[in-house]
Amino acid sequence: MQGLPFQPEQASTIARSVDQLYLFITAITFFFTILIFSIIFYFMIKYRRRSPDERPKAIEGSLPLEILWTAIPTLIVAVLFVWSSSLYFRNAQPPPGSMEIFVTGKQWMWKAEHPEGQREINELHVPLGRPVKLTMTSEDVIHDFFVPAFRVKKDVLPGRYTSLWFEATKLGTFHLFCAQYCGAFHAGMIGSVIVMEPDEYEQWLAGGVPGETMEAAGRKVFGQNGCGTCHVADGTGLGPSLLGVYGQQVPLSNGQSVVADDAYVRESLLIPGAKIVKGYKPIMPSFQGQLTEEQVLDLVAYIRSLGQEQTKPKEEGKK
């Protein structure tokens, strides 16, 4: 507990700025509450009824006053709006080059998956002083990833990727809560975020169960599901080659085109019919239900890698 009493730890780069705003609003709240209360008490004493039949003379009201106490709150909220929105906007977008971790929520546990392949449950290990971006999704209902000490929170929705980012500024273990009601053990869907020195973190990644990288895992899934039968590297297959697709504009059969991002790839697997690549038939089967969210994430990671490493032909699918 540092800073003020009754203040949660400040363990991320944004915590302090959020708290400043928080304190500012607190000050406003106390100011007006005390103001109103004290005026009321003052009047109650000063103008208490002295004789049962006294008849104070009427006061119409006063335009200047009305304008004044319309203007003051307006100004205050204007300040609040600009301040809070700019802060929020800043915190909404992860800084470029932040390391990425994938999180899936599930009644009632948190699963984290590091690109290097480390998997953990209800724990999240992160290095100190490096911006971390979480790409999150849920296998069932809506959950919410909430780390009070970092002042970050984001709902984790099924069938969709949401993301948040933070940069830890403090070593130690912090609460991880599920802040969106998700059923019987909502209260039990808690874990801890463990902030380590970067080199310790590297060791931690290396140590423990030597899980394969997500990319490798993805390649395996790719093989197991016979994706390769249609997606052949040289594009001669029933489906388009997936080399160099990720991150690029993909022309669609309806004349539009979309950027092939995580979401698009995900959709292509689960709802193939939604967007048809130009020049191909909508024959790709949906893998909805056959792939767990983690497998999908692995595939996404794999197809990403195909997108980046143009210089690795004949890789894809062929084994």
């Binding site: 309806n254 709802i271 193939p272 019919g273 939604a274 048809i276 909508p282």
Partner: protein
Amino acid sequence: MPDVHAEHAQIDHTGLAHQFEDLDQQQDADTLGIWLFLVTEIMFFGGMFAAYAIFRWLYFAAFAGGSHILDIRLGAANTVVLLASSLTMALSVRSAQTGNRRALVVFLILTMILGGVFLGVKAYEYNQKFVEHIVPSLDWAPEGDVLARLAPGGLNHAQLYFFFYFAMTGLHALHMIIGMGLLFWLVLRARKGSFTPRYFAPVEVVGLYWHFVDIVWIFLFPLLYLIGGRY
């Protein structure tokens, strides 16, 4: 709908309820009441239209595909039927105004019949959906030609379309049925001769309701049958 002209303990032969000063005040209140009620109906359907608007925008291909499965001729025909019923309804009100009891009864019955025809056609269309196995979640297994036409937009999204089709037309049909019940009640009262050129608020009010239901269909027709052209 607001039970206007409450048959209050103290209702007198002119149909004036005790809480009102005179018939004009009462009729003012009645019309205002029913219009307010219609506004709540607008919002009721509005919520559904909002949902519809969003998914139509997101999954346009699927919605167009689904829309093209529907029989546009039946849709158009039903629109005509319903408009006709609106006409007869308007004429019933008019006969009430002119105090022509026989005409009133006849037109009310005509309106009911037309309403019945509309529902009949709808029932037939619903049945078709079962035949074609395109009833979301209850009987969803499109095949052959239907499948081919739905596939491009994605079957799941097509299912959403048909959910909206059934939900919207179903709610509308429900309103029709309620309306016909009210019409029946009017017929009974009209034959008893409880309506005079001075007092016919119930006819007017039910009329407004019936026209509103008609208007809802006026929108449902293009929104469900005419998505993205038939060319």
